[in-house]
């Protein structure tokens, strides 16, 4: 018995998909004028998809039966999804360079490295129908585009906020000074927390940008030697007051629950989780502004299943999936159409998804590279120097 006889519906779908693919190739074939590497069409799907993702970005119902946007995708596209969960940006870059994966949910501190290293392909985003509805603030950013070419579908974003215990910290803090300025930080000595991540150096740079204008910091990720050393010195000074550098969200939450941490840089996700558990905590975006992360689904330049990956990107950009993942993970959706579909009607307000003033105060993660991006030239500190400095800061 042939495949068509056994699965008539599926076969019909495949046929339709194949025809759409052929048409797409034929239709778009001639319009590629910018760059020959750029992906300008979606062809027939290849039946499988190998992803690298943050935990919670590709849920197939195995964590929670009701949380599943992978299975419907598999049904619709016939792409069997295999997800490799990575826990750090460094790991994602490493995995992408093995060439065994079709795509990745890259944060800004990984994406620039991937773009610079030629590990991901530029895409003509007009071939992905949901791209048009993506929040314009997330398009054409340093961390997802280069030289006018786009490298993927924005996934969602979040700010690093100042999370504090309302009983222990009074009055409510409105400045990063409460964790950086020794006069204020010493009050909470041993109970200050910070993420265990070299990119946290940028948070010190954001604070210095506001408090020490002489340093001339314009971008917390483009630091020349003097600016970098000032940020590192600030963090070394802060180290005395740090109780713990939190490695993941779960530990961060337990530290606040158990009273080990009372103030520090965190995410809205932890804040909501703690508040839901009845802890007396709150978080705000300090007056100096903050850092944040914005993730992008990117296509590997060595992808074995590029068409499945393109379908996945479009799927992840759709309002319904955006609403699911934004609520499950705790982040602002990239597609604002998702705001009407979340089960908590206030989700987008809690995460400031539509608040442009809020968004503008955030310097989103991107990989530090030697090119400062301005007339200073190539004198900026590179990411591996950030990593080494982070070792020294922690002591």
């Amino acid at each position: 018995m042939s495949y068509a006889n056994r699965h008539p519906a599926r076969f019909a779908w495949l046929l339709v998909l194949a025809m759409v693919g052929v048409l797409a190739v034929a239709g778009c074939g001639g319009s590629s004028d910018s760059n020959s590497d750029e992906v300008t069409s979606i062809g027939q799907t290849e039946g499988a998809l190998n992803l690298i993702a943050w935990a919670g970005y590709a849920e197939d119902g195995s964590t929670d039966k009701t949380v599943d946007w992978v299975t419907p995708f598999e049904k619709q596209t016939q792409c069997k999804v295999n997800t490799k969960t990575a826990s750090t940006s460094d790991e994602m870059v490493k995995l992408m360079r093995t060439g065994q994966y079709d795509g990745v949910s890259a944060s800004g501190d990984a994406s620039v490295r991937l773009i610079e290293g030629g590990d991901v392909s530029p895409i003509d985003m007009s071939i992905l129908s949901n791209y048009a509805d993506i929040n314009p603030s997330l398009k054409d950013q340093d961390y997802n585009s280069k030289d006018g070419q786009n490298y993927g579908m924005p996934h969602g974003w979040g700010a690093n906020v100042l999370l504090y215990n309302k009983d222990a910290v009074q009055p409510a803090p409105d400045s990063w000074g409460s964790v950086f300025d020794p006069a204020m930080a010493s009050k909470y000595s041993g109970k200050i927390t910070a993420p265990d991540n070299p990119i946290y150096i940028a948070d010190a740079a954001v604070y210095l940008e506001a408090t020490q204008p002489d340093l001339g910091i314009t971008d917390p990720y483009e630091l020349d030697e003097d600016q970098f050393n000032a940020a590192v010195d600030l963090l070394k000074q802060q180290n005395k007051f740090i109780g713990e550098y939190w490695p993941d969200a779960t530990k961060n939450i337990s530290s606040y629950t158990n009273g080990d941490s009372v103030i520090g840089s965190s995410w809205q996700y932890q804040t909501s989780a703690l508040q839901a558990a009845g802890e007396n905590v709150d978080a705000d975006l300090p007056k100096e502004g903050s850092t944040g992360w914005s993730d992008t689904w990117m296509l590997s330049s060595q992808a074995e299943h590029p068409n499945c990956m393109l379908e996945w990107m479009n799927w992840m950009g759709s309002p319904k999936v955006q609403a699911q993942v934004a609520e499950w993970f705790g982040e602002a959706p990239a597609n604002l159409g998702a705001c009407d579909l979340t089960s908590d009607p206030n989700h987008c307000d809690t995460y400031h998804a539509k608040d442009e003033k809020y968004y503008d105060q955030i310097a989103f993660w991107k990989t530090p590279i030697s090119d400062c991006g301005d007339d200073r030239g190539s004198v900026c500190m590179t990411y591996d120097q950030w990593v080494q400095a982070w070792t020294e800061i922690k002591g």
Partner: protein
């Protein structure tokens, strides 16, 4: 077929030995020493500054970084210090337990105790560290138990790392000492007593010299396991250990991670040479 094979080995003892050892030696040389060699080679590689990719080629940059940067020295001494403290603590805790198990307990009690000592090894290391993390937390069991006396637990930090490591590696110290004590015939202790030695002298002159190699053997475990661990410091500490630096670099900068790994290897080689002088490898 089996018969012909048997005929083949008949009268060829060397062939027999070769066939027996081929698999384990192959594993040792290729899988075990091979990966070590690759790691040592990687410690001389370096990263391409632009793309961040590993470039193969000889350079001493990584070792230069390790020697010139003070932070690596601090971390090395901190790690060795805690490893030594854990070893001494475990030796002091393990000896009385092992002595009771080997010399005083009845056979039935003996086996119960052996199981009790080994029992923690059956549960996941991560769960044990996680449990300690909860106990050591500000609102945890330790502070709760100490608060009636007006005391406060150590909280997360190097002291906590020492406590947790001493707990986790204790069985690795008890078992060798127990085995060493069992090997001392009771008649030796009786003879010492008959010749007029007081218990303290028997302990000093008979038991200690005979069990010392066993203690050294146990210390190799506690010392080396502490030296390489990164999970405990990451969970209950707030300072870095050698393992943490290796872990944080092995994705971002593999050559540097490989070079840092050379530190514990050198420390362990020195430790093993000293241990050998104390006879740790003679009876174990």
């Amino acid at each position: 077929m089996g018969r012909r094979l048997a005929d083949l080995f008949q009268g060829h003892p060397r062939l027999t030995v070769a066939a027996l050892l081929a698999a384990p030696i192959g594993w040792l040389v290729i899988g075990y020493l091979g990966s070590l060699a690759v790691m040592l080679a990687a410690s001389f590689w370096h990263l391409n500054e632009l793309s961040g990719e590993v470039t193969q080629g000889f350079s001493l940059d990584n070792f230069d970084t390790i020697f010139s940067d003070e932070v690596y020295r601090t971390i090395t001494f901190r790690t060795i210090g805690v490893a030594a403290a854990v070893t001494v603590t475990d030796a002091i805790l393990a000896f009385p337990i092992a002595f009771y198990m080997a010399k005083l307990a009845k056979p039935r009690m003996q086996s119960v105790l052996v199981v009790a000592v080994l029992l923690p090894l059956w549960s996941s290391y991560l769960v044990k560290v996680g449990a300690w993390r909860l106990m050591l937390s500000e609102d945890g069991a330790i502070n709760w138990a100490l608060s009636p006396f007006g005391l406060h637990g150590p909280g997360y930090g190097t002291v906590a790392v020492w406590l947790v490591m001493s707990y986790i590696w204790l069985p690795y110290m008890i078992i060798p000492i127990y085995a060493g004590l069992q090997r001392i015939p009771d008649s030796l202790l009786s003879a010492s007593e008959d010749l007029g030695a007081k218990p303290a002298k028997t302990f000093r002159k008979v038991i200690m010299p005979l069990t010392f190699p066993a203690i050294v053997a146990g210390s190799i475990f506690t010392f080396s396991l502490t030296l390489g661990d990164y999970i405990t410091p990451a969970n209950v500490g707030n300072k870095q250990f050698i393992g943490n630096v290796v872990y944080s670099n092995f994705v971002a900068n593999l050559p540097l991670a490989a070079a840092i790994t050379v530190i514990p290897i050198v420390v362990m080689v020195i430790y093993l040479l000293i241990a050998r002088r104390f006879g740790a490898f003679e009876h174990v």
